[in-house]
Symmetry: C2
Amino acid sequence: MTSAAEIPDTETVPEEPSGGGEPARVAGGIPEATVARLPVYLRALYTLAERGANTVSSDELAACAGVNSAKLRKDLSHLGSYGIRGVGYDVEYLVYQVSRALGLTQNWSVVIVGAGNLGRALANYGGFLTRGFQISAILDSDPSLVGRPIGPVTVRHVTELESVITSNSVAIGVIATPAGTAQVVCDRLVAAGVTSILNFAPLVLNVPDGVDVRKVDLSIELQILAFHAQRRFAERFGQESDSAAEA
Amino acid sequence: MTSAAEIPDTETVPEEPSGGGEPARVAGGIPEATVARLPVYLRALYTLAERGANTVSSDELAACAGVNSAKLRKDLSHLGSYGIRGVGYDVEYLVYQVSRALGLTQNWSVVIVGAGNLGRALANYGGFLTRGFQISAILDSDPSLVGRPIGPVTVRHVTELESVITSNSVAIGVIATPAGTAQVVCDRLVAAGVTSILNFAPLVLNVPDGVDVRKVDLSIELQILAFHAQRRFAERFGQESDSAAEA
DNA sequence: CGTTGTTTGTGAACGAATGCACAAAGTGCT
DNA sequence: AGCACTTTGTGCATTCGTTCACAAACAACG
């Protein structure tokens, strides 16, 4: 759930109505729910490729990705018709097509703001940033952290934010600061031209239209888990004292 | 979109059909999409309470939470009818009701497995674990980390996993290990009785029915951002070379 | 070449989520 | 008490997402 339901926060510019009864088909033609699953498929494909698989059926790939095979096929059908009936999908070719659809054939420059525990974890997580992303800088306001090497870069002072962004044409900003400074950092990122932001600070960021914010929030996830745990608990034993089931 | 969309992974046990035309109403009566937003409302309510607000209208609260006010009212209506027409909601009372709905009136015991950068970040993030959650232990397999104090606890060896869980009646496990060991850790958590798992490792965990897994995955979020960034880019300038828009 | 078996791609039914728009229900002023 | 104003709670239409089930397309083999 999510993503949650995740759960989308994008402000998508609506296209012309385009007649049909299809499920929306925003510009780019790929529904949000599908976009959120493509990275999962991509990871499964890489795993399969490492195992030496040349082709894969929708059933196998769906099992690896933890989804139902009909959903997988419908998702992939939004990218084009890249399967072979009676055989399956060519792994390498599908990797390329999914990557292209996600925009990973170009390299994206990322700046991380905040070199605390979380920022360090992100910068060090080589596995995360393998393909398509490159950390241009990690910034912090604490002078005692500046100059310290973390992962592929060294910490720079947050005053350099604007110059780092313009000189590296950074398109994605990651906010790993405390909640108190997150909005200020966000405003500066946006003013400097960043239109994609990944927010780890526990607050709702305010951004103008045209800026895409995604949030990752531990406490929210924990609370959702707590809800389900409580529900399971109440189901197993009798109903709780006063649930919302009164007439 | 996190969650957005985030995106559900729960195996919910369907209740009796219950007749009506309402949107599903799983056991507990609260739709998934609503559950995912309740923590956001709760945080906004705490912020408002700190500012000294006694009551709040759906418009204000919706603005704080970054959603549409009709959606907010519909969400809250699933908990019961706790507003006063013409006035709004009593902040303190609503905090209590939302907390109760989420199962935060009891304390949940959490164990973090993996004391690397990420595990340390989580254990130190006091802001995350304020209300309703308590870190019972943080575990790692690296002997050089054992004994080191992190946040409210000290690192213990992962061999103690089972005993920690049973003696603290831990209900929630957080996996902050590398991908290679995540499944093994997961299996051990499940075998020890944990039914709620928050997974930070970049892989799809395999769990039996009745276990609830939520994942937090940086690379997926980045890839979704990249997709939208690419789309915006292609929209601004002419269409890309070959999009999927052929007849 | 036809037949059998496999797997994709998708039409169509269903189910969930969103947002509008308004009646119902309250406050406060005169 | 009556009236004007505010805000909740919800029925309804619409959009979005999932799943089923099957025809179309291909491989393999005799």
